[in-house]
């Protein structure tokens, strides 16, 4: 189907179902229960899962296929966000032109940076991309303030021109929309204690994720993708056969930059603010972490990694001592206090500590990331169910 093998089609369908049903899947606990704290099914976080999923899928195209480790991808995310917000300010609150512009601008920016950085390889390439991204961040924070609004971030104002929307003076800020369909409108379904949010913005992001994921599968399986893998395995041998790897690497660098720009544009569409810190090296590092954590070079890994990190950032940081006391109320006082004291360093303001420990555990014991872990569990289950069945070789022909 759609030019995919059976296995890939299944994967795509799984992703599609997961993203379409996310509002249910992410809200497994009834409202008001002690575990509701772990629910992640509110529009903002679901949008973040998907947007960072797109970002990581794009990053994986570059890193997973060619092995070029870019430490500057956040710059494209940031540039995408700025272009989208400028589009909202100048042209229209419709998200479509904003997203298109952010992809184009990020593409051009990545062409420029990629052209220069790809002259070097290995860590020298990484530092070149890092240098460009840090320069962008620092300038955006200070000197380029007229363009970026510096520390605060670029925001909408009441007196923006907004040519297509008629501009004029408003009494309240306009909201982003897709031909009149407001991004923030949410339908809430209350079912027997559970509450599920269906947000327009989320579904737009999810549809784009599915498209982006499909495109990434096609690139992985294409002759172009094969060429990129050749760059990773042995660039020299490739050159001896008379092929110049540069156009291929540059092309994939720009494509992954455009993915980042798309993610940036979507972020701005969901919440029209573009902050400079989106370009900081820690943000670039975060997408590396997402990809490696999920599984480099796997199709689904980056999406899982993105979800994992964003879940931690948004859920763990909000658990405080009061919440903990609430959970363990049923215990005798002394025991309750003891447990809260033990858990205290790991929650709330200590969520970084938990994240750091999780990284170390995952990297040490699951070298292939979460996908690897999933496979191991799968194998374990398979072996238990059918112990005498030999592993069948992959019968799907490579395209």
């Amino acid at each position: 189907m759609l030019g995919l093998t059976k296995k890939d089609t299944t994967l795509l369908i799984v992703v599609a179902i997961l993203s379409m049903c996310a509002p249910f899947i992410l809200n497994p606990f009834p409202e008001g229960s002690a575990l509701a704290q772990f629910n992640a099914g509110y529009p903002d976080l679901m949008q973040r899962f998907v947007i960072f999923g797109i970002f990581a899928v794009g990053f994986n195209l570059l890193f997973g296929l060619t092995g070029y480790l870019s430490f500057g991808h956040a710059a494209f995310l940031g540039v995408g966000s700025y272009s989208a917000v400028w589009m909202f300010k100048l042209l229209s609150m419709n998200v479509l032109p904003a997203i298109i512009l952010s992809v184009i601008v990020a593409g051009l920016f990545s062409l420029l940076i990629g052209y220069v950085s790809l002259r070097r390889s290995g860590i020298y390439f990484s530092i070149l991309t890092l240098a460009f991204a840090e320069m962008s961040f620092r300038l955006a924070y200070s000197v380029l303030t007229p363009l970026t609004n510096g520390e605060t971030g670029l925001q909408l104002a009441l007196d923006d021109p907004r040519i297509l929307d008629g501009g004029g003076t408003l009494t309240s800020l306009p909201v982003t929309n897709l031909f009149g369909l407001e991004m923030r409108s949410t339908y809430t379904l209350d079912v027997a204690g559970w509450s599920f949010d269906f947000s327009v913005g989320y579904y737009l992001c999810a549809l784009i994720l599915i498209a982006a994921f499909y495109l990434s599968i096609r690139i992985f399986r294409s002759p172009f993708g094969l060429m990129l893998r050749a760059v990773k395995s042995n660039q020299q041998r490739m050159m001896y056969t008379g092929l110049n790897p540069r156009p291929y690497t540059l092309a994939v660098f720009v494509i992954s930059g455009m993915y980042a720009g798309l993610a940036g544009g979507l972020m701005a569409s969901m919440d029209p603010l573009a902050g400079a810190e989106r370009m900081q090296w820690t943000q670039s590092g975060e997408v590396v972490l997402m990809t490696v954590l999920g599984g480099v070079g796997t199709l689904i890994g980056p999406v899982l990694g993105a979800g994992f990190i964003k879940y931690f950032e948004n859920i763990f940081s909000k658990i405080n001592d009061t919440v903990l006391h609430g959970w363990f109320e049923f215990l005798p006082d002394g025991l309750e206090n003891l447990i809260v004291t033990i858990l205290h360093p790991f929650i709330g303001k200590g969520w970084h500590l938990t994240l750091g420990i999780m990284f170390m555990l995952v990297v040490t014991f699951l070298p292939g990331g979460l996908v690897d872990g999933g496979k191991r569990i799968g194998n374990l289950l398979k072996r238990k169910k059918a112990p005498d069945e030999t592993v069948t070789p992959n019968t799907n022909p490579a395209e």
Binding site: R120, I123, E134, H352, L355, V363
Partner: protein
């Protein structure tokens, strides 16, 4: 064939050109300001060089990209903080004359050292906490290094660099969060001994008017200290058998192993030494800036840029790049340059890194094939 000296000359051309350019621009700047910024640059550069040196030691010997190196620097600073706290361990004496903020009688802390050694000697010991912390930090840092290498890094020698980066990055976060949990997020003032307060007037010494070139004593101490450490590391590698074996191992690990030398053990010790170098850089840095838990991360990216500009795996390259970037950064902070290129002081390090990497593919003194995969 080229003689070994040739490489060095080649490596020195790029910085030489840069120095000439900067020199030309400086024709418009008074000499005393120039000297002042040069001093600043050397001072900044010595911190960069020390951290980059440790990073390169670890990378060159073990082939591990250590993102937790900044955290080692930070732990070094907190060794100084800890020692100063240990020395000031106190018992409480209630002073009915004075009141605390709630209006209760104030509990005055009297350090034990003052009780044991008399008030003057005790106060002097506390005053000298930072230099004394050098003695305290060396065993602590070597131990930290050993535990890190044996407990964690060892398992990552054969893993991809990305995994090494990730696990050491995770470790860096864990280490700094532990420090934050113990010491809080606010900076902790840790001053230098009283005798080092104040500044030395280089101007008078060089024949300028008074007050033209003042430089704080402690920063001069820091520079001299760094120079001594860098010299010691080089001498150690150059003139001891241990160092010779390590250098041989850096060049060709397998052959050295085949000669029946337990190179792993030596490399572990090198990790300890590298950790100690980073830690000492941290100890001596505390009076310059009050230490806080995230100072390691502040230095991390910068020190990687320094190492890469110097050339991966090259010790002299790391030192050279450290001082060069420190000096350039100091000059970029002057308004005369900022007026020409707005924000140049924000980005100078990165601009220089890009220029150097584009003109010299492997940094100033990097070897071919190292970390280019």
């Amino acid at each position: 064939m080229t003689s070994p000296g040739n490489g060095l000359i080649k490596a020195a051309t790029t910085p030489l050109i840069l120095v000439v350019i900067v020199g030309l621009l400086l024709a418009f700047i008074p000499l005393n300001e120039l000297i002042l910024q040069l001093l600043n640059g050397l001072d900044k550069g010595s911190a960069y060089a020390l951290i980059a040196l440790g990073l390169t030691l670890i990378f060159g010997t073990l082939g591990v990209v250590n993102f937790a190196h900044g955290a080692l620097f930070m732990i070094g600073s907190f060794c100084a903080v800890t020692l100063s706290r240990i020395l000031s361990l106190s018992y409480e004496v209630i002073d009915p004359e004075r009141k605390d903020f709630l209006g209760n009688p104030l509990k005055v802390d009297v350090p034990y050292v003052e009780k044991w050694f008399g008030e003057a000697t005790g106060a002097a010991i506390i005053d000298w906490a930072v230099p004394l912390a050098i003695l305290f930090a060396i065993p602590v840092m070597i131990a930290v290094g050993f535990i890190m290498e044996r407990g964690l890094i060892k398992h990552f020698y054969k893993r991809p660099h990305a995994d090494q980066i990730l696990v050491t990055f995770g470790l860096a976060i864990v280490l700094q969060e532990i420090i934050k949990a113990l010491y809080g997020a606010n900076p902790i003032p840790t001053p230098a001994p009283e005798v080092f307060k104040g500044s030395f007037d280089f101007g008078v010494w060089m024949g300028f008017d008074a007050n033209k070139i003042l430089y704080p004593y402690w920063r001069i101490v820091y520079f001299l200290f760094s120079a001594a450490i860098i010299g010691a590391v080089f001498a150690f590698l150059r003139f001891t058998t241990f160092g010779m074996v390590v250098r041989a191992g850096m060049a060709d690990r397998e052959t050295v192993g085949l000669l029946g030398i337990n190179i792993d053990k030596r490399f572990t010790m090198m990790f300890g030494i590298a950790a100690a170098v980073a830690g000492l850089a941290g100890v001596m840095y505390t009076p310059i800036n009050s230490p806080n838990y995230h100072m390691g991360m502040d230095f991390l990216v910068l020190s990687f840029v320094v190492v890469v500009v110097g050339g991966m795996g090259s010790l002299p390259g790391a030192v050279l790049a450290g001082f060069m970037l420190g000096i350039l950064q100091s000059f970029a902070s002057m308004n005369i340059f900022k007026d020409i290129i707005p924000g140049i002081d924000q980005i100078i390090i990165y601009v220089v890194a890009i220029i150097i990497l584009l003109t010299r593919p492997r940094g100033l003194m990097g070897r071919k094939g190292v970390m280019e995969e």
